[in-house]
Symmetry: C2
Subunit: 145 residues, 2 copies
């Protein structure tokens, strides 16, 4: 298991343990994590802090040249908002834990030249399957449905 996907899963688990939506992400630059985070809808009442956004926010203000060499690891396929943030900052590579419980804007990312790797990690899937089963309304809220 890639150490960075492992860190993203730990973020997802941390989110779950604090009563939130179990999606985590880390932003990696030159083989080091410069930002990590998880979905904060429940914990902070946030509508924009998805896992990917939380990791980007926690990385702080970075020069464009840094983003353009980053890899974003995320436990779940990125929604349109998070995909848009990836495009805004020109992050060239995204490693996705799984896209079976939710398919994000992967076509948009690929059309814009972002390289995607789908891991289909069983732990990422198990986290989301259990969460969605136990909290269907919260999950629908998080994806605008």
């Amino acid at each position: 298991m890639d150490q960075f996907m492992q860190a993203a899963i730990e973020e997802a688990q941390s989110g779950m343990h604090s009563g939130g939506i179990p999606i985590g992400s880390v932003l990696v630059y030159e083989n080091e994590i410069i930002g990590r985070g998880h979905n904060q809808r429940v914990q902070k009442g946030s509508t924009i802090l998805h896992g990917e956004m939380d990791a980007l926010e926690n990385a702080g203000r970075q020069p464009a040249a840094v983003y353009k060499k980053c890899v974003l690891y995320t436990t779940l396929s990125p929604c349109p908002m998070c995909s848009g943030a990836i495009l805004l900052y020109g992050i060239p590579k995204v490693v996705i834990g799984e896209n079976l419980t939710y398919m994000g804007a992967e076509t948009l990312l690929r059309e814009n030249g972002v390289e995607l790797t789908i891991v289909q990690d069983s732990r990422c899937q198990a986290l989301m399957r259990r969460f969605i089963q136990e909290n269907p309304a919260l999950w629908q809220e998080d994806i605008g449905e």
Copy 2:
């Protein structure tokens, strides 16, 4: 002048007066503002709180049915991240102050059925022209360039 674009401009001016990037937005539901905000890159060191995102965040957690009846007013054409957030929540209409100093992801929005109205307001343009002239590096950072 539409009262809601006026409110978005006031947010942009408020951002400028606190030393920030002069872009403001308001989220309107059934003819009332339910969230307002402005770019917070300078003030909060935020990489994700563009004007539109700040307004969405300040509106708090809303049911999907609310977003789907909202109109988002923003002083500047929405970047890919903010456009993605508009798509995530299914906001059907966006009123844009201007798109001459920066063209956002308007094609993506239109392709996904979002109705756009471009005002080309001279005050919105003047705010951005002055800001970009005086702070070119800060502006480039905000749009990932």
